[in-house]
């Protein structure tokens, strides 16, 4: 192993295989040793250390790859003599950044989960799924072909299903898992269509070759048409996986899973796969600016839509789920406005502070003996000081209080929105920023301030949980430094780094731009502070009263979207299914088969009379046959 490529392929292979190996091991241990204390210890230490190894492998690659590299493990699918799909990793700034987020946050959340899931009968099973998820996510991130990305894409969907319905003995959880799985399938159809269309145009599914072919230009109108179809498919896939309108409905229900799962899969990593994919395929989208426009609009609309629902939720995890949808909307807004670096920056900071918030919420839930309703919380900041302070940092970060990370990344997106001069989007973005700080303030105040309204005495969580919270709080506070704007004396390192693979309009460096950006930052931080202040005064003395006016009922009921979908889609599908079951399967297919069976039964009832058991009668038949043969031979003479 003396040449760098071999070392890279070894390191990256280890990074991807450690979680997979872990998944197999924990499954075996969980099956073999069940609930024994030792097994739990082994699994938790093992899972965390495997993840840490994976993280350091990715980190090593990150530090050692100049620009981008490709490592090929083996040939996977050969189409013809010219093109094949390899089992290969594409190591470029985009994938390595996401890979670091996945394994880094993943390690922390594994550590947290080992405390959170302590004593659960499905301990081994839980870590099996979690490690399998990380493996799939790494496949999605690093694969250099769309086929590999699709493998990971489906893998994370599957693990998400497993983990949402992890406590499957309650029907509600199982249904939530099914819902997530089925809604994701609709998005996956889009991905498949995109793959087919791209294969038709370019005859290859390797991402670098595809993008090179697109950038080489000189495409015929026919090819452009198919690329447009592919873009539509990718947008559909992204909305499914990243929970955007119209396919966002599964994410709030996905909160049925254990809280570490919500933090890792449904906030920090998996749901950002759509953002990653659209950034990765940016050259295709640049050929179809109108689709980018649609994407920006979807993002903006989802952001404000989910934020307006989040205000009225009482389940602490549901608030965070809608908040996640809303923040993902921000990311898509940025992607649609050709600011993928801003989107990616927000992805990273969001991964930090949303993981922190979810884990903080998990700590609260753990401390209150599985109480999730914020109306039954309150005043627990004294009982859980570490959780309180870390969550406070998370809340301030997402609300956009300078200089925390959420402020910097959100401000960048607001900056791009402002300069796009699309008034709808500007309105969406700023309103969402206000709503975000308001509902986060509501969550914060209702949980930690006022009088205690719960039933159980609160207690602080174990060290394995609070330590993770502290690390994440530090990350949430300082992650903004990654891409601190140049105008304010920063270095924009993320921008420099990602510029190699995605294109984004460069900022101006005039004095005028400086003042306008300061103005914007001032407005956005004022908006954030205003939201928090309003929430403080509204909920400081919360005693159970809520918004009474009938107009709010529509928000409380989440715009009745679930009911509309149920009426328009689910019921009709059920009816079609019923018709197919009764009509086609029951009548046509079963009718045909049963008819054949009954005809042969009736015929055999007649024919069995020939079989009398009388030897002489058989002899007679032989005779008659013989005579017939004789007659036949004679007549043919």
């Amino acid at each position: 192993m003396d040449n760098p490529t071999e070392i890279l392929s070894f390191v990256m292979g280890a990074a991807a295989l450690m979680p997979l190996l872990g998944a197999c091991l924990w499954f075996w241990i969980g099956k073999k040793f069940g609930n024994e204390k030792v097994a739990e210890k082994i699994v938790s230490v093992g899972a965390v250390s495997f993840m840490a190894v994976s993280f350091f492998c990715v980190l090593y690659t990150f530090l050692n790859v100049e620009g981008s590299a490709r490592v090929t493990f083996f040939e996977w699918i050969r189409f013809n003599s010219k093109s094949a799909v390899n089992f290969a990793f594409l190591l470029d700034p985009l994938s390595l950044t996401l890979g670091l987020v996945v394994t880094g946050i993943g390690t922390l959340i594994h550590l947290y989960a080992s405390g959170y899931m302590h004593g659960d009968p499905g301990f081994g099973r839980f870590f099996t799924y979690l490690n399998l998820f990380v493996f799939s996510m790494l496949m999605l991130t690093f694969s250099d072909s769309l086929v590999g990305v699709f493998l990971g894409w489906e893998g994370v969907g599957l693990c998400s299903y497993f983990l949402i319905s992890f406590w499957f003995s309650e029907e509600e959880n199982a249904n939530a898992g099914k819902k997530a799985f089925i809604v994701n399938r609709i998005g996956d159809l889009g991905f498949l269509i995109a793959m087919c269309a791209l294969f038709k145009v370019f005859g290859t599914l390797n991402i670098p070759e595809l993008l090179a072919a697109v950038q080489a230009g000189s495409l015929t109108p026919d090819q452009l048409f198919w690329i447009k179809i592919a873009c539509f498919g990718l947008v559909l896939g992204a909305t499914g996986k990243s929970a955007q309108i119209p396919l966002y409905v599964w994410l709030p229900d996905a909160m049925a899973g254990p809280t570490p799962v919500s933090a890792l899969i449904h906030a920090a990593t998996m749901v950002t796969a759509g953002v990653y994919l659209t950034c990765r395929m940016q050259p295709l989208f640049l050929l179809n600016l109108e689709i980018l426009e649609i994407l920006a609009f979807i993002g903006g609309l989802t952001a404000i839509f989910a934020a307006s629902i989040a205000i009225f939720q009482n389940d602490i995890k549901k608030v965070l789920a809608y908040s996640t949808i809303s923040q993902l909307g921000f990311m898509f807004l940025a992607v649609g406005l050709i600011a993928p670096v801003a989107a990616f920056f927000h992805l990273i900071t969001h991964a930090c502070f949303k993981a922190l918030l979810f884990l903080g919420a998990g700590s609260v839930i753990h401390g209150l003996h599985h109480e999730q309703d914020m109306r039954h919380m309150g005043g627990i900041r004294k009982k859980m000081p570490l959780t309180f302070w870390t969550v406070t940092i998370g809340v301030f970060a997402i609300a956009g209080i300078p200089p925390l990370s959420g402020f910097v990344s959100k401000d960048e997106i607001l900056h791009f929105t402002w300069h796009s001069h699309r008034w709808w989007l500007i309105m969406f973005a700023f309103t969402t920023a206000f709503l975000t700080s308001f509902y986060m303030g509501r969550l914060w105040v209702m949980t930690f301030f006022g009088k205690f309204r719960g039933h159980h005495e609160a207690h602080e969580s174990p060290v394995s949980m609070t330590a993770v919270l502290i690390v994440l709080a530090i990350l949430s506070a300082i992650a903004g430094a990654l891409n601190w704007p140049e105008l304010w004396g920063g270095s924009e390192r993320l921008n420099e780094y990602l510029r190699a693979v995605v294109s984004q309009a460069a900022g101006e460096h005039t004095e005028e731009a400086f003042y306008s950006s300061l103005k914007l930052a001032g407005i956005s931080s004022l908006v954030g502070i205003a939201g928090l202040t309003l929430a403080w005064f509204r909920y400081r003395n919360f005693a159970g009263e809520e918004f009474k006016a009938p107009i709010f009922r529509i928000f409380k009921n989440k715009y009745y979207i679930d009911e509309i979908y149920d009426f328009a889609v689910v019921q009709n599908l059920k009816r079609i299914g019923y018709a197919l079951w009764k009509g086609v399967d029951g009548f046509v297919i079963d009718g045909f088969l049963n008819g054949c069976a009954s005809v042969s039964t009736k015929a055999s009832l007649r024919f069995r009379r020939l079989q009398t058991g009388m030897t002489q009668q058989y002899a007679l038949w032989v005779w008659i046959g013989f005579l017939l043969l004789l007659f036949g031979a004679w007549s043919l003479r």
């Binding site: 058991g613 002489q616 007679l620």
Partner: protein
């Protein structure tokens, strides 16, 4: 030596065979059926020997020996069957051996 026309011999063979066959179809006693089978085989044997005479070779005669051997075996097996049948049913009426009725 007086030569008998082949057609006479064949008519004789056919006649013996038909007697046997008819007997086989109409008799009820298993032992008679066995005898009728022998009769049919004898009819066939007559045809073999006649053709052997007609063609002036020994193929027919050899076949006659083979057939008579098989017939001996077959009647031995048949008698054994009838004997066992008698032990079970206390008679040898063949219409009672109808366990194979469908």
């Amino acid at each position: 030596m007086m030569s008998v026309p082949i057609s006479y011999l064949l008519f004789l063979s056919f006649g013996v065979f038909c007697f046997g066959a008819c007997g086989f179809l109409i008799r009820k006693n298993a032992l008679s059926l066995l005898i009728c089978l022998e009769l049919m085989l004898s009819g066939v044997n007559i045809a073999f020997v006649s053709f052997s005479r007609l063609h002036q070779n020994e193929a027919g005669n050899i076949l006659y020996f083979l057939v008579i051997t098989v017939a001996a075996c077959e009647s031995a097996v048949g008698l054994a069957l009838i004997l066992n049948f008698f032990r079970i049913k206390k008679n040898i009426r063949l219409e009672e051996a109808n366990a194979l009725e469908g």
